[in-house]
Symmetry: C2
Subunit: 512 residues, 2 copies
């Protein structure tokens, strides 16, 4: 395995070595930039802000189309909210991870780069084969065989989402068209965006739609998915997710949780980067923080800590929770500014933890305490993710809802306590953890973007609109798999297409 450069990002903690910061990753492109400061006055066709998947896709498509592109990234690595850390010869996905062939944009790229045969299965080395599920809900712990428990959930999930007798299909008929489309009923969309998942839980309890045992399984999964408490989650988003999987929890599970890259996400990200760079049309600069963007009739100037650069167009892929840190001239619309000031609620943890117990490879845990039933838990779900070469087992855990101030690096021994609160049996074999603190990350301030009630209907359309010569592209407001890598690729590709379509019609174009 080739050795990768080390990013400043990422943490590990173990009793022996304590807290260490900075992990190796294939995404740590070196040198940090491809051009000397002296060339900085050269105008570009497009400047792409951010080298996450939205920016990488835009840069790739634009350079292939023949444009001169400058790609700027604040971090010392590409990948944005997705990157693979290399620790002691093993790979850990710090952010976005799983892929599926029904996610159109990402699958096209996966096969384009020949990576579809290099997938690993999270549930187990062979076809999905988890053994047990431990649920810890409102102070009661259940352990069951995984399969029957999962089948129970399949059925319960359908009922939970079935707000209209049509499995939510009258609310979201086509999941890639939530706000606009021939089948959209704006009144229903509005109604369910105002409803929180907690509202729906209350309704489901009142009408006996799901049993307590079923809710004990479902609610922690909602917390995992949002990185937020049910009262802060929009029911509209849950209906949309359900419709993506045609209301099958089994289908959704296989889409969201099964297949990942053997070579890691950063290898995939680098494939985009390499193709763009090999075109000969790409300049890039990492550790370059954008402070201001000025759009002055026909030209956009991007100001950074390394200098300023000009282009005809900009593709801005800043995550919504940090976009307000950049100054725009002319200023952004009041509605967009308001959207950016309303932080999205995806404020959860993703922590890999190592254990000396082989059977943990086959385990799934979910845990939650509702208000009045004990301390709010920091982690809501965990599952066996990989067996390391030395036999240790890696379990990945997620959580949210309590965590805006609660970052592990401040006191890493907290992680073991959080795990033990999920399941006391996780305590003794615990060996240490690997993680990225998305909540405290200045270039993300959150993980994948999930919205609270009302946000979708109020801001979605505005967030997609261009701002003069600035196109906005982010998974945060994707039409399809919003909040996923697929959504980022969708958005980057769409922005690049709009720009190249206009660019091709410039006067010097001629036909054969």
């Amino acid at each position: 395995m080739s050795s990768f450069a080390t990013s400043k990002e990422g943490y590990t903690w173990s009793p022996e070595k304590g807290l260490q910061a900075g992990l190796a990753t294939e995404g740590a492109i070196r040198p940090l930039s491809s051009f000397a400061a002296a060339q900085s006055s050269k105008p570009f066709d497009t400047i792409v802000i951010g080298a996450g998947y939205a920016g990488l896709t835009a840069a790739r498509d634009l350079t292939l189309a023949g444009q001169k592109v400058l790609l700027l990234e604040a971090r010392d690595r590409i990948g944005g909210r997705t990157w693979t850390a290399q620790v002691d010869g093993e790979k850990y996905e710090m952010g976005g991870t799983w892929v599926h062939w029904t996610m159109g944009y990402i699958w096209r790229e996966i096969t384009r780069y020949g990576l579809e045969r290099k997938l690993k299965i999270t549930p187990n080395e062979l076809y999905p084969d988890y053994a047990f599920n431990r649920t810890n809900f409102n102070g009661t712990i259940f352990t069951e065989s995984f399969k029957p428990n999962f089948e129970m959930c399949e059925n319960a999930f359908k009922r939970f989402v079935d707000v209209d007798g049509q499995l939510g299909a009258t609310v979201v008929a086509i999941p890639t068209q939530v706000m606009d489309g021939p089948l959209v009923d704006p009144e229903l969309v509005d109604k369910y965006d105002r409803m929180s998942i907690a509202d729906r839980i209350a309704e489901v309890r009142a009408k006996n739609i799901c049993s307590e045992r079923e809710l004990a399984y479902l609610i922690p999964w909602f917390v995992l998915s949002w990185g937020a408490r049910p009262e802060n989650a929009s029911m509209l988003e849950l209906i949309k997710w359900a419709r993506h999987g045609e209301n099958s929890f089994g289908m959704l599970a296989s889409i969201l949780w099964f297949y990942k890259f053997a070579d890691g996400q950063s290898h995939f990200a680098k494939s985009f980067f390499d193709e763009a760079f090999e075109s000969g049309n790409l300049c890039y600069s990492l550790e370059t923080v954008v402070t201001k963007v000025e759009d002055r009739h026909g030209s956009v100037e991007v100001f950074t800590n390394k200098g300023s650069y000009k282009a005809a167009k900009v593709v801005c892929t800043l995550p919504s929770n940090v976009a307000a840190k950049v100054q725009f001239s002319p200023p952004l619309s009041p509605l967009r500014q308001e959207a950016f000031s309303q932080k999205h609620v995806g404020q959860g943890h993703k922590i890999h933890s190592l254990f000396s117990k082989p059977e943990f490879r086959s385990g799934v845990w979910n845990a939650w305490n509702e208000p009045g039933h004990g301390e709010t838990l920091e982690l809501a779900a965990a599952f066996g993710d990989q067996t390391l070469k030395d036999g240790r087992v890696s379990v990945v855990s997620f959580g949210g809802g309590n965590s805006a101030q609660n970052v592990p690096s401040q006191d890493p021994t907290k992680i073991k306590r959080w795990l033990t609160q999920v399941d006391p049996e996780l305590e003794q074999p615990y060996l240490g953890s690997i993680w990225h603190e998305w909540i405290a990350d200045p270039y993300a301030e959150g993980h994948w973007c999930m919205w609270g009630p009302g946000h979708y209907t109020k801001y979605f359309r505005e967030l997609q609109k261009p701002h003069g010569n600035i196109e906005w592209a982010s998974a945060d407001w994707a039409d399809g798999w919003k909040s996923f890598i697929d959504g980022a690729i969708e958005q980057g590709g769409k922005a690049a297409y709009r720009i190249t379509k206009e660019w091709r019609r410039r006067p010097q174009q001629s036909r054969l």
Copy 2:
């Protein structure tokens, strides 16, 4: 609605007007070619043979990448085995029709061209709402409400495909990787490719896995899907289809049968064509039949009825049932020649028929007579597809198994007889039909490509291999949605990527 040019292809029949050939379509690009014969000696970077979706995608990607491309097509229209006929102000899909967001390649293109909000629903104007199902199996006719019948089928389908207790997942784990991949078990793949669907039906009956009522619904759907009798259909392909929809018949139904373009498939095809043409890098020539392809060290010469043309590379998208009509030098490998001589079994009808009964809009019919139970039926399935502006209803019907010599144009009154054999009630309100004869079509000799037992395992890998400087791209051997438009786009895109990757590494490339 703009008026389109008329292709020579397509038929209509009504009692009043009799048989008429040649229908208007947006795919009838005019003029028929973009260059005068005098320019025919100009060398191209790539020649693309065939302007179906594989060829259109390849031409689009290659021209965008900067290559000079010549697109040759035998027909007087683009679209290949997919095109939209315009008849009396209404659109009819003559071939490939339905799309879905889980089909990655096609969905990316649909959103790229802004067509995702212009979808129509086949089951009905509103969210899917068929009312009745009439089954005519082995001489017995049942009529039931659609919904409970469909739910029965969902369950039965799972059991039918469950050859291994894992819903076929040990045979085809990842549906885009049937022959090769980390989870492929070659023995199982071979075993189920040798098994015909008829073999499985016999096993299912012997072990009481499905009831006769359930088989009465499933078997006609197999005939529809293959355009062939169950004894000529490979069980491996059925398992692959099932895995694409995670074994949910409901999911498959929504993927295969629900959403189509309001503006028609030809409009979608023209979007690819227009983008390629607007690049300034495309030459095209319709009504141009390829007779020979000669690959002589570094240059390929393509001989046609309009002249010969040279290029460094060729993308050949000829459907497998007609590829043997072209002479290749050097000759194709013995295995590939054998594959082309073994016609694929997708030899079915697709016929639109008009009725004066509004309730037929909400109907689904399926019909089949097994050997020994009466005459083999020519049509196996039908369903209400659209209500015309004047109130007439269009029902689309499919069939296969008996039809290699039985083309409607020889005696169009046969259509009414075939429909009446499905359901006597279809006779009196019958007003006429619109269709394309894929079986007799010299450039297709069949519809979508479905294989008989053994074909997949024997020929699939070989069909994908390049032949010197000739890349082969067709839905017929796609990795993902083989036989679908999505597979064609997959293949065309992959061929273009391979060619441009090699092309970019030519000596004159330099970096910024």
